[in-house]
């Protein structure tokens, strides 16, 4: 198999980013618990929520850090509920949230009582994040058949792993779409060319509709998955998905579960715009250049989300959300971009 590529200092895989955030939070939680003897669960929760707001402020496009904070919050809340000695009724579940009798008062719970349980749970979370990309690839590889043509867009670590795993037991063709202004497709092509069972070729995304009649699967990745099935993905994904829809080609989006954000898709979600100089030379700068890094893809175009927890239909994303994050943490306010506005 392909050697592990050492990521550059700036280029962290999403799970590494999430793990960083979790580590940072756990250190701060420990410090807080040691420093203040009278700290309660409510204080800890507030601290983590502030961290989530800070993450959003640093990088509005990055949903992974916020999601990591949400996972830690869920751990805190769950452990607090356990330690309140509450019966099974008060444990959060869809049904029980509707019928619960009174809101849980986290300031009743002392931080000391939570310490061991929370650190154990955070260790589990770190382990899950670390192995998320490995778990994902076995789930995705099952959907690629022998001698099929798979279309993908740009460079994605998850998709590369899924393709390599599939190539271990069957041979197929991979067509990589290279779309501006990112042009990461050649990097993916170089990687796929080293895998002997994959017949890899590179096209521009202008060709996407032309080749789509011969494509069996579209395998893509996303930067963020929204709760209604919309995506924030590399620029060019939207056009490609529309072409796939026209030709009824199944679209698989391979993302680890920590990219799932509890917010609805909207074209006004945060986006990054790249330097126009990457496209145009200076004397042509009389034109207004529009080069977004990401596409905000509306829901309804994806067949299946392949996550480290398994394949997930778009209609069941809310279930995955409910298991990962606590409902009170869906919207973290104070001006962050990905809240449930």
């Amino acid at each position: 198999m392909q050697q592990q590529q050492q990521p550059a200092a700036k280029e962290l895989h999403s799970n590494q980013l999430a793990m960083q955030v979790v580590r940072r939070l756990s250190k701060r939680l420990q410090k807080r618990q040691q420093a203040e003897s009278g700290a309660t669960a409510a204080d800890l929760i507030q601290m983590v929520r502030h961290e989530a707001v800070a993450c959003a402020g640093r990088d509005p496009v990055d949903a992974v850090s916020q999601n990591a904070c949400r996972r830690v919050l869920k751990i805190l809340r769950e452990e607090a509920v356990h330690s309140l000695g509450a019966s099974a009724q008060l444990l959060s579940s869809l049904q029980n949230n509707l019928f619960s009798e009174r809101p849980i008062d986290y300031s009743q719970v002392k931080a000391d009582s939570l310490r061991d349980a929370v650190s154990a749970a955070i260790k589990e979370l770190s382990l899950e994040l670390e192995t998320s990309l490995d778990d994902l690839r076995s789930h995705g590889a099952a959907h690629i058949g022998e001698n099929e043509v798979v279309l993908t867009l740009g460079y994605s670590h998850s998709v590369a792993r899924v393709l390599q795993t599939a190539a271990a037991t069957r041979k197929f063709q991979a067509i990589v779409c290279d779309s501006g202004p990112n042009f990461s497709g050649s990097r993916m092509l170089q990687l796929l060319k080293t895998v002997p069972q994959i017949d890899a070729s590179l096209i521009t995304d202008a060709h996407a509709f032309a080749v789509m009649s011969r494509v069996h699967r579209c395998l893509l990745s996303a930067q963020t998955v929204f709760a209604d099935g919309g995506l924030r993905a590399e620029c060019g994904t939207h056009g490609l998905l529309l072409a796939a829809k026209r030709h009824s080609v199944p679209v698989l989006v391979c993302t680890p579960a920590h990219k799932l954000a509890p917010a609805y898709h909207s074209v006004e979600r945060a986006n990054v715009y790249l330097n126009p100089a990457c496209l145009l030379e200076e004397n042509l700068s009389f034109a207004e250049v529009h080069c977004p890094k990401y596409d905000l893809v509306p829901p309804g175009l994806v067949t299946l989300f392949v996550t480290n927890l398994g394949g997930l239909a778009p209609a069941h994303l809310h279930r995955c959300l409910a298991e990962q994050y606590h409902q009170d943490d869906y919207s973290i306010d104070a001006g962050e971009a990905d809240g449930d506005a």
Binding site: A210, H238, F286
Partner: protein, 472 residues
């Protein structure tokens, strides 16, 4: 060790070979202390050799003309050994295998009964296009998607000029104009649907001048044939070019029956054709397009040619009636025609009236909320009502259709084609890319007729179903 190797009834015939191969194992591995991995590797090699030997036997039995079968099987068996050795050494920097190589590797996984059929298929794959076998096994060589491998790779200038001097054309005289035209066509210097036709007309004029008028009907065809062959070897003809050829043949035929007096009657006819069918048609199309563009419109353009440029000039010179028209210009590699259009616009008075926005084709969906209409140019209208256009047009038309943006396609009336196409794969051309690029560049794609709102021709504004039905 013999006991550990798989023994089934099919391989008993190869057992003698097995024993011989056991003896021919390299001495070094027998002497060194064998690790488990080495044992496995040796076993795999043996299995591979057995299978190859068995296949060879079967092939020799089946193919009576032993020579052909022998050469074909020796190749796959060599490659099978090479393939297994490589995998045994676990080299990940393996070069791109040809199709036969891949079949041999996959034969390791398939049950022995299937490998014969796969080997046959591999042999069939190896016989036609020679360019596949000439590709060096090198990861820097790009590979096309399998469904495009029937397309001819684009010709170089050197290939064209050398073919002029080689046996094919040595006996006939090729006009300099045609050589020049072929070179320009091969290097894709003629953009836009009418440009190649005008180029052909120009070259034809030069050719016709060399033929004396009295001998024209007799001499024109043999003179024309080698020139057209050269041109076609550079690129297949566009619809307009074929139309011009067809008309030329008709004129020559009709002239044979009645005596024409004027000296340059054929050249006159051709000039008339160019004026009527191309230049006047353009004027009419520009007027039609202008009538479809309203105030405050934002027009999205993709691969616009001079026709659209002139139309924009018309609009802007309208002055007070249409003060606010905006342009969104989309572009895509490797031809970057949008940037060429921008260079034309640079310093032009158009810009003062008509602000331009530039984006890559991939950003089109995000810009559609701003757009009023999409204007594209078509290369040909197929007989079943689809539009053949420069690659990317179908992508864009589909995106616009999903967002309910009208899509207008400019097309000459004589660009209707009698071919029937349903996808972009069966008829296409390979385009030129820079030598260090790994991109597979296709020239055309097929836009389904229902994605096009209206077809603007000089005969009127039609739906795509207005294509003439070919009479069979």
């Amino acid at each position: 060790e013999l006991k550990m190797l798989p023994t089934d009834s099919k391989q008993r015939s190869g057992k003698e070979k097995q024993q011989k191969e056991k003896q021919s194992l390299p001495a070094s591995s027998a002497q060194e202390g064998k690790s488990a991995a080495q044992l496995r590797a040796e076993r795999r090699e043996l299995q591979e050799r057995q299978r190859a030997a068995k296949l060879q036997k079967q092939q020799e039995q089946k193919q009576a003309g032993g020579g052909k079968g022998g050469s074909k099987t020796s190749n796959p068996s060599n490659k099978a050994e090479a393939g297994s050795k490589k995998s045994a050494e676990q080299k990940q920097s393996a070069p791109i295998p040809t199709s036969a190589d891949k079949k041999a590797q996959s034969s390791k996984l398939a049950p022995p009964g299937d490998t014969h059929q796969q080997q046959q298929a591999a042999n069939k794959k190896k016989s036609p296009p020679p360019q596949q076998q000439q590709q060096p096994a090198d990861s820097s060589v790009k590979s096309l998607p399998s469904f495009f491998r029937h397309l001819k790779p684009p010709m170089d200038a050197e290939q064209i000029t050398s073919s002029v001097y080689n046996e094919q054309f040595a006996q006939s005289q090729i006009e300099a104009a045609f050589v020049q035209l072929s070179l320009m066509v091969a290097h894709e210097q003629l953009q836009g649907p009418a440009a190649r036709c005008l180029g052909l007309a120009r070259a034809l004029r030069q050719l016709l001048c060399t033929v004396p008028v009295q001998d024209l009907p007799r001499l024109i065809k043999p003179k024309l044939d080698p020139n057209m062959r050269l041109l076609r070897s550079a690129k297949p003809p566009t619809v307009l070019e074929s139309y011009l050829e067809q008309r030329l043949a008709n004129w020559v035929q009709s002239a044979g029956s009645s005596a024409e007096n004027s000296d340059h009657w054929l050249v006159d006819r051709m000039n008339e054709f160019v004026i009527e069918q191309i230049e006047k048609a353009r004027v009419t199309m520009r007027a039609s397009l202008k009538s479809k563009i309203n105030n405050l419109d934002c027009i999205m353009l993709y691969k616009p040619s001079s026709l659209i440029f002139e139309c924009l000039e018309d609009i802007v010179s309208e002055g007070t009636k249409m003060p606010d028209v905006r342009i969104i210009l989309l572009d895509s590699p490797p031809s970057w025609e949008g940037q060429a259009f921008l260079r034309r616009l640079q310093g032009h008075r158009l810009l003062s009236k008509c602000p331009v926005r530039y984006a890559m084709l991939s950003a089109a969906p995000s810009l559609l909320s701003d757009t009023s209409k999409l204007v594209l140019e078509g290369q040909a209208l197929t007989a079943n009502g689809n539009v053949l256009a420069p690659v990317g047009t179908a992508y864009l038309a589909n995106v616009a259709w999903s967002h309910r943006i009208p899509c207008l396609v400019l097309c000459h009336a004589c660009q209707t084609w009698d071919q029937v196409l349903i996808d972009s794969v069966s008829y296409n051309e390979l385009g030129r890319v820079s030598s260090d690029s790994q991109l597979c560049n296709i020239q055309y794609d097929l836009t389904p007729g229902d994605l096009v709102t209206a077809l603007i021709t000089e005969r009127g504004v039609l739906p795509c179903t207005g294509s003439p039905v070919p009479s069979h």
